[in-house]
Amino acid sequence: MTVTTSVTDTATSLLRFATAGSVDDGKSTLVGRLLHDSKSVLTDQLEAVAHASRDRGTGAPDLALLTDGLRAEREQGITIDVAYRYFATPRRRFILADTPGHVQYTRNMVTGASTARTAVVLVDARNGVVEQTRRHLAVAALLRVPYVLLAVNKMDLVGYTEAVFAAMAAEFTAYARELGVCQVTAVPVSALAGDNVVTPSAHMDWYGGPTVLEYLETVPVVTDPAAEPARFPVQYTIRPQTTTHPDYRGYAGRIASGVLRVGEPVTVLPSGRTSTIAAIDALGHSADIAWAPQSIILHLADDLDVSRGDLITPTTDTPHLTQDVEATVCHLADRPLLPGARVLLKHTTRTVRAFVKDISSRLTLEDLSQHPKPGRLNANDIGRVTLRTAEPLALDPYATSRHTGSFLLIDPTDGTTLAGGVAE
């Protein structure tokens, strides 16, 4: 640890979460309310919103305007792209990936959910769990977002009735269980009136659970690294070759998962050579132990040929090497993905050539049915594919590790990101 000062006593935990829901569900209003009521909106931002609301002839300041960033979005009243928002309470710092909810933006929700510990799914209390809700939940499940919060919004429009909320919470939880999402919490809210977003509602005495903010402040932010396999993708070799450090040779990278200890026997993949961890530099001080997601420099006892793209793992727990990848991908690009396509596959710090051997099925998110042999995947489609890579990959199942089980497919001709994939 570095020397602490009184200022760093404000060090706190960091939660990344994603929202999913559409303009019609009041998502922008909910996010605006969260920022506004947690005192994260400052005077000049509020003035700008009030000014813009007046220009548009709306009466009260439209909190949704706090979050609509681009001109096209303001003109069309929609959200095009993932926006990242930042706010803090005395208990925690938050990074919100605010994603649009419409079907043509599944890829944006996938993007937001890929780094989220929690997903907040919004429904309109008048409409309940609709196809779109099921799609949002399925994306959260596919990307293994550990915690899901159902926010039943616009409770003011259904008379704050408990039975309406209870029915939706039950339906949502049952569907979540089907998808394997166990950690579901439901909150009845009115983003417009401010009920249960930050402040407990005066209209719903029957509800005894947390507000949306209380939930976000208390949901666990970290998994236990000791429970995961240790994985260290090498990013860069540090060799100063200076008079003060003539023989220094360290492997820089960020621990993707698990815990590494000095003295531990390790294997370098894909070569399979073995050594032991001789030392760990943790950004300016040496350490006996380091864990995900720390960025460190690792020193090995033996002089091996190690370079960017290699994966260092404990010898007792190495991933399986493969050139045949079975995965589910979300297609992100406007041009379709076809069988036989030649692509680049980026996994951790390693990029290899690959081709699409087969697209075995396309998933319909609304009812989780698989359509066999779709022939192609279009933008926002989610499907199962088989890939063949030119070189072996040290791939973990995504269920084991979000970092070493995920990859990108890239178009080798122009660098476009084609798809995000999760290995089986």
């Binding site: 760093t8 960091l14 001109r71 200076t242 450090h245 660098g415």
Partner: protein, 306 residues
């Protein structure tokens, strides 16, 4: 560690997480690009960015130099700081000059004297001349609405333009840096830092800053509700009277559009206390260049601005 953090031995504070991610970004670029460069203005964000770059490669030096887009209207304290840091570290500094571009007729001076928007042309010229393929910028997503939609790796076409509809999706922390010849990638290691995080990190790391970030007596005049410093850039105008006040700067840019705020904060801890209590965003309080229109930043980014 404090009472907020559980006794779990594997917990990292938010600053440690942000630091690790920024270091990861620097190392990704070093591993995947031929000719990176770091934009360095001597402002606090670029100072923090340089500090992180040094940490990412220590005990070796970062495998890239610095680029300063010089508006010609700099605070002398900031220039002195820049030169001292560069000399002390032995890093290579490239300077792209707005004044030279004006003198050569490639850029036209604006009637309001503001040179911040004029930085785009010399920046793109320098990127082209040196064939930089990755340009580190200190932009943060919390600064402004258009920046909230910015990627960590932001692809720019041969005109340096940013097309929000053509942005690549960015999943997990897998950054795609591939680009065609002539294109380059802007990289923002501080994407997820807020103004407060930057200051807390400065405190934690005991990073030295130019003196103008702390309260000092200075001659200023009022314009557009901000305290501006008189100088050769075109202030004060007739009817604008100069007064002496105790102020500090929350952001440091071109003198013509960077306002000071009334402040008594003389130390990092006092600045943090002031920010925590402030009811204005840093750009709203002190940057005229963002007030030009509701879409000011978006428009400048489309043209190739930082």
């Amino acid at each position: 560690m404090n009472a907020h953090v559980s006794a779990d031995p594997y917990v990292l504070s938010h600053l440690e997480v942000l630091e690790s991610e920024a270091v990861h970004v620097f190392r990704e670029v070093a591993g995947e690009f031929e000719r990176p460069v770091l934009l360095f203005s001597g402002g606090k964000d670029s100072i923090v960015m340089l500090h992180l770059a040094l940490k990412a490669f220590a005990p070796a030096m970062p495998p890239f130099g610095l680029l300063h887009v010089d508006t010609g209207h700099n605070f002398p304290e900031v220039m002195a700081y820049r030169d001292r840091v560069v000399a002390g570290l032995g890093l290579r500094l490239h300077v792209a000059s707005v004044q030279e571009a004006i003198d050569a007729g490639r850029v036209r001076e604006r009637p309001d004297g503001t040179r911040n928007p004029l930085q785009t042309v010399p920046l793109l010229e320098a990127i082209g001349a040196h064939r930089f393929d990755a340009v580190f910028g200190g932009g943060r997503r919390d600064e402004e609405k258009a920046r909230a939609k910015e990627r960590v790796f932001s692809l720019r076409d041969e005109f340096g333009g940013w097309d929000p509809r053509r942005q690549r999706p960015e999943l997990w922390q897998l950054y795609n840096g591939r680009h065609a010849p002539g294109e380059h990638v802007r990289v923002f290691p501080l994407s997820n830092f807020t103004e407060l995080d930057v200051w807390q990190y400065i405190a934690r790391e005991k990073i030295e800053l130019p003196s103008i970030y702390f309260a000092h007596e200075r001659e200023v005049f009022a314009r557009d509700g901000m305290w501006l410093a008189p100088g050769g850039w075109g202030g004060p105008r007739e009817g604008e009277s100069v007064v002496r006040r105790q102020v500090r700067y929350r952001t440091v840019g071109d003198m013509s559009c960077t306002g000071a705020v009334d402040s008594t904060a003389a130390t990092v801890a006092e600045v943090i206390a002031e920010i925590t209590a402030s009811r204005l965003t840093e750009r709203g309080a002190s940057r005229a260049d963002d007030r030009l229109s509701e879409a000011a930043m978006e428009d400048r980014k489309r043209e190739g601005y930082f």
